[in-house]
């Protein structure tokens, strides 16, 4: 992490709206003769808006292999929001059909997509390979709109899973 910190810092300055998780500090704590404990403090990318949990949370990697949590559930069992349980790509594909989560017009989706492209290019340039997009969906209970209003909270969860391809070695650390 320290090795990529200059690039990370520059990127965060250039791209203040980046979805990449913000890192707020890194510390080592040593108590007496015990081994040092290393910790990182970071932003929770999935905040509780007004104290309420997201109704759905998806961890998406853009893959369909081994990316289904609710495999054994029948459609009829999927009426209730899944709350804190983190779902994956294929669950999203399935629930999207059932729930009609949201529709974004191009004015809204274009800036999001363009930021995500920049973010993933940056992560690629830093040789990160294990990261995902965390998508939270919360239905806003104002009762006014007949279609589901949803609030999006997108976050690239990259730094949470810092697996870097080590130099000269294809293995994941």
């Amino acid at each position: 992490m320290l090795r990529m910190l200059p690039e990370y810092y520059d990127y965060m300055e250039q791209e203040p709206d980046s979805f990449i998780a913000k890192m707020f500090g890194m510390f080592s704590v040593k108590i007496d003769k015990f081994e040092s404990l290393h910790v990182m403090i970071m932003q929770n990318t999935m905040p509780h808006i007004d104290g309420a949990e997201m109704h759905y949370v998806f961890d998406m990697k853009g893959s369909s292999i081994n990316r289904e949590v609710l495999k054994k559930k029948k459609n009829s069992e999927l009426k209730r929001p899944t709350g804190g349980r983190v779902l994956k790509d294929l669950d999203y594909v399935r629930l999207k059909e059932l729930k009609n989560f949201f529709n974004l017009d191009e004015d809204m989706s274009e800036p999001i997509l363009s930021q995500l492209c920049k973010d993933s290019s940056f992560l690629m340039s830093q040789q990160f390979m294990d990261y995902s997009l965390l998508l939270g969906i919360r239905k806003i209970e104002d009762g006014s709109a007949p279609d589901e209003s949803t609030k999006m909270n997108l976050a690239n969860f990259a730094i949470n899973e810092p697996s870097i391809v080590s130099e000269g070695n294809a293995g994941v650390q």
Binding site: L2, F24, F27, S28, K30, V39, M40, V86, V172
Partner: protein
């Protein structure tokens, strides 16, 4: 291409460490606690960019308020198998790292 750096995040800060050695306040554990802060200015700048004050982190990570989150902490959902928990107010995540991940 030349790189532009702003004040507060000097080149040499990226590897800077700050040590503090003190008895642990009111806890009186009678233990020597040493804290190493990596790249203090850089992270402070990141916190500033996000409007996070040091007091926010101190309050959110107050040990007495985080007993439950720590007890319920997930043992590494990720490949790293690290220990992490959400602060009681859900603002921050604290996770452990290996020495390799630090560097």
């Amino acid at each position: 291409m030349t790189r532009k750096r702003t004040i507060g995040a000097r080149e040499d800060d990226f590897v800077a460490v700050e040590y503090s050695k003190e008895e642990f306040g009111t806890l009186n554990l009678n233990r020597k606690v040493m804290v190493k802060t990596y790249a203090p200015k850089t992270f402070q700048r990141v916190r500033q960019m996000c409007g996070i004050e040091d007091i926010d982190i101190l309050q959110s990570l107050d040990p007495s308020k985080n007993v439950r989150p720590i007890q319920n902490a997930g043992l590494g959902a990720g490949a790293s198998g690290s220990f992490f928990f959400f602060s009681f107010d859900k603002k921050f995540i604290l996770k452990t790292m290996t020495e390799t991940e630090i560097n």
